[in-house]
Symmetry: C2
Subunit: 251 residues, 2 copies
C-alpha cells in the first residue's frame, strides 16, 4: 500500500525542500521505492538532485494540466530506489490557468491515482504558501510532515497551517492527518532553538519526530552538487539526522 506524504509549511525557508529531498533519499537508501514529487515552481527539489529542465521532457506542470501522464514525467536519480517527478517554473501559472477547472483541488490526486503502485512512498515538496498547489498536495496525501524552524516567526504560522489542514480534511480529504512535526535548523548553542522546541513538544507531544535536524552546513552545500546529503557526506550530522528520521518513519 503506497503511502503519500507531503512536506508543507507556508513559512518560507524552514527546510521543506531539504527535508523532502533528504528524507526521500534516506528512505530509498533503505531499499524502499520512493517517488519524490516537486510541486514548487522554484524547482529546488529537482535541481537539488541535479535534474535540469530538458526540452520535450514533461514535468509536473504537464501532468497537472492534463498534457502528460505521470509515468512520462518520472526521472531516475543516482539512487536506484529514488525517482523524481520534476517541477517547472510554469507551475506558478497553473493556479490561474485552472481557476475555473472542474475539481481543480483534485488534479494531483487524480494524476497519482493508480500511477504510484510501484512505490512504497510518495513524498511531495510544497511551495511556501497555502494556495492552490499546496491544497492539491493536501488533498492528494495520506499525511503531512511539517518542518518547523526553531524560530519565532515559524512558530507563529503553525496554527494557520493546522487550520488549513483541518479545512482540507473536512472538505476534500477525510483521511488527511499530521504525520509529524520535525524540528529543523536546530542550533544547540542558541536559547531560542531550545525555547521553541520545548514549547512545540509541550503542545504537540508525540506528534513531534524524536529526530531533530541540526543546523549543518553540509545540508546547504549538498544541493550545489546535485546530491542529497547522504551521497554528498554521509558522516555529516545533517545526513545522519535524516537517516534517523527515515528509521522513525519506517518503524
Amino acid at each position: 500500500m503506497t503511502r503519500i506524504l507531503c512536506v508543507a509549511n507556508q513559512k518560507g525557508g524552514v527546510g521543506k525542500t531539504t527535508t523532502a529531498v533528504n528524507l526521500a533519499a534516506a528512505v530509498a537508501a533503505a531499499e524502499r521505492p520512493v517517488l519524490l514529487v516537486d510541486l514548487d515552481p522554484q524547482c529546488n527539489a529537482s535541481s537539488g538532485l541535479g535534474l535540469r529542465p530538458e526540452p520535450g521532457q514533461p514535468t509536473l506542470y504537464e501532468v497537472l494540466t492534463g498534457q502528460a501522464a505521470l509515468v512520462d514525467a518520472v526521472r531516475s536519480t543516482e539512487l536506484q530506489a529514488l525517482s523524481v517527478v520534476p517541477a517547472s517554473r510554469d507551475l506558478a501559472a497553473a493556479d490561474v490557468e485552472l481557476v475555473s477547472a472542474d475539481r481543480r483541488e483534485f488534479r494531483l490526486r487524480q494524476a497519482l491515482d493508480g500511477a504510484v503502485a510501484d512505490y512504497e512512498y510518495v513524498i511531495i515538496d510544497c511551495p511556501p504558501s497555502l494556495s492552490f498547489l499546496t491544497v492539491n498536495a493536501l488533498v492528494a496525501s495520506d499525511a503531512v510532515i511539517i518542518p518547523l524552524q526553531c524560530e519565532y516567526y515559524a512558530l507563529e504560522g503553525l496554527s494557520q497551517l493546522l487550520h488549513t489542514i483541518r479545512t482540507v480534511r473536512r472538505g476534500f480529504n477525510p483521511r488527511l492527518r499530521v504525520e509529524g512535526i520535525v524540528l529543523t535548523m536546530f542550533d544547540t548553542r542558541n536559547n531560542l532553538s531550545h525555547q521553541v522546541a520545548e514549547e512545540v513538544r509541550r503542545h504537540f507531544k508525540d506528534k513531534v519526530f524524536r529526530s531533530v535536524i541540526p543546523r549543518n552546513v553540509r545540508l546547504s552545500e549538498a544541493p550545489s552538487h546535485g546530491k542529497p546529503a547522504i551521497l554528498y557526506d554521509i558522516r555529516s550530522t545533517g545526513a545522519q539526522s535524516y537517516l534517523s528520521m527515515a528509521r522513525e518513519l519506517l518503524a
Copy 2:
C-alpha cells in the same frame, strides 16, 4: 518626494521581513518618516513590531478590497517616525477575490497614490511568491530591495525574480528598478557564504549593498519581543548592519 520601495524575493526565509522591519526602523531612527506596509498574509512584519489584529481596526486587506482608505489602517509604533499598515490573514484570499477585478495589479498603487505624501519612505514587505500580491507591490514601487541569503537555492531563484521585475517594468510600471541586492545571514566561517557573495558581486557589481547582514541571533530574537533589533539590542551586529544599510540608502 516619497520613495516607495518593496522588499521582494520569492525564495522563502531569505530575510525579507527582517530587512523590511529593521531597515524601516533604522530609517525612522534617522528621523525620516517611514510607512511600513505588510503585504504578507503571514503578518510577520506586523507581529514583529508587536501589532496584533484588533476587531474593527482595518488592515491592508480592507484597503486593497476597497473597504477602507489607507489612512484608516495606519498604526503607530514605539518609534515616532515609523508607522505601519498591518497585514491580515485574509490577504491570502485577495488574489482569488480580485481575480476578475479591473486593473487588479494596480490596487496597492491606487491605495498609496496621494495618501503617503507625509512619508519620505514607504517600505513594503512581500510574501514568498511572485503572484498577485508581489506583483501589486512591484507595480506600486519605485524600486526593489532584494534580500539574498548566501545559499545555493537562493541564488538559483534570482534570475526568475529579475525576469518578473523586467516583465512588470515593461507591462505596468516603467519607473521600476532594482535599488540593490542585500546579502543576508552571512556567516563568515562558512565557505558557501563567501562563494555566493563573490559570485553576486561579480555579476551585479555596484547593485549590491556594501552593507552585509551577518547571521546574528539577536535579529531572530527581537520579533518575539515585538521590537526591531535597534530597540531590542542596538549594539548587536544585526542592528548595526541595518543602521549601516539605512545610511547607504539615505546617502
